[in-house]
Symmetry: C2
Subunit: 297 residues, 2 copies
Amino acid sequence: VHVADRLVEAVRAAGSVACVGLDPRPGLVPPVLRDEALAVYGDTAVGVAAAFVRYNAGIIDAVAGRCACVKLQSACYEAYGAAGWQAMEDTVAIARDAEVVVIVDAKRGDMGASTTHYRQAFFGGAPGLRETTPVMPGAGADWLTASPYQGSDTILELLGEPGDHGVFVLASTSNPSSDEVQGAVLDRVATLVERWGRDRLGGAGFSDVGAVVGANRAEDARRLRQAMPTTFFLVPGYGTQGADPLDALAGARPDGSGVVVNNSRQLLGAWQAGDPAQWQAAVADALTAMNEALPVA
Amino acid sequence: VHVADRLVEAVRAAGSVACVGLDPRPGLVPPVLRDEALAVYGDTAVGVAAAFVRYNAGIIDAVAGRCACVKLQSACYEAYGAAGWQAMEDTVAIARDAEVVVIVDAKRGDMGASTTHYRQAFFGGAPGLRETTPVMPGAGADWLTASPYQGSDTILELLGEPGDHGVFVLASTSNPSSDEVQGAVLDRVATLVERWGRDRLGGAGFSDVGAVVGANRAEDARRLRQAMPTTFFLVPGYGTQGADPLDALAGARPDGSGVVVNNSRQLLGAWQAGDPAQWQAAVADALTAMNEALPVA
């Protein structure tokens, strides 16, 4: 099944546009999981990684079937080196077992052979020492975020067969300084994204080349939707980053499709306002509130 | 010592502007090391990682003191997951023990807390589960490559105290499609890079905010040098990517300083033209030839 069709179907089946941001930090891990990991591993990178996987597993259990997808911020894992990377891969595997669509938000961008290696890292296929078999599995992501800064070389090489996996290209990000460079090239990037995805459409009319458009960039989102009618939008910056629900959906098609909205802190940190022992219920309730605020058309 | 001063001193002491690209792939590993790793680990990611570390250690041994620095292409390691990441960290540690300046070419770019996590991943300082101690060491890089696409948020947060470590910002990359997006923002990026580094100069007159300028972009390099007089240039695309030695040095200051030139394939693959058992000597000879082609002024 085309990767964009799977995302469209996940939104429909869950009745949710929510993308659950699995961006763990030690301060967000509930005390019970933190103490378990400390007891077994001490205060080490392996201990942090173990706590992250346990926390993510509980979150995935609480949200599977009620969200569109999950998104792992790669930086949170890389901060803990090899152990952190393993925690990222383990989390992806848990999500896939739960049949949840997985985005890895690693914002990669490079050229030539390096891009091939990034494709292998996140989608699999790196050669072994014999260069034939075995082929390494990679992190197992469905979608990867990527930077368009180095142009077509980067994006086309990340893509495999149409629909096998997808790339969300940074278009208009939600951070305060995003306009400094992106502002001058937004139309150019939109043209490129549309061109890259043109012959790669799934049955629902979306390609495997998506775009990242911040929830606080509603004006850009409406303009980009005109320029990129077949592009799925990944919308960060909702929740604690403060965007309005209507703004978060500004890039949707007239029928409401084509958008998933990421929320990390508001979901992962929800337990901090109540009983820490009930952290899974807190995540589930926060997702329910988000789904009510952002109804699927 | 300011990170830019250490790089200037490394160029002077070695009499070399060469940046040795540690970009291993299974096909570049000499047969003796490949067979050793296969015997111990089989054809697994751990085996590939072990072979990469052995190969890198031999290369570092052959080039230490005769090159300006080494550069690890992060993608080559990430393709092998957690084992690959560990190989990257182990390689950085070996280079540091040999007192070689280390650039990690990971082209990271993100915003806010995510950028903090990337800083921690490559320069250290991630918190443990107790959020106070211990602090994680990170990969131990001296310099990291980064994308300016999300603007000041990204770069300023990657930097710590002036001179502790440095960032090479992608300005004009060497790939065929680099002009598609970068072409429209090159002057803007140059202005930003100069501004970011302005108050962060070392004693030799270079800041800890460098720029990546492809060897095949000599015209850009000359223009950027005017706009960025205190910026160190990292120059990829020399060697098998086909740039002329004079072009590779086009961004140097009038006194010849301010540039390191990366070469990976021509050095790492040098053994393939001769006796594979003499692979270390082949790397050393290829570096000698590069140093002769690119004399330090």
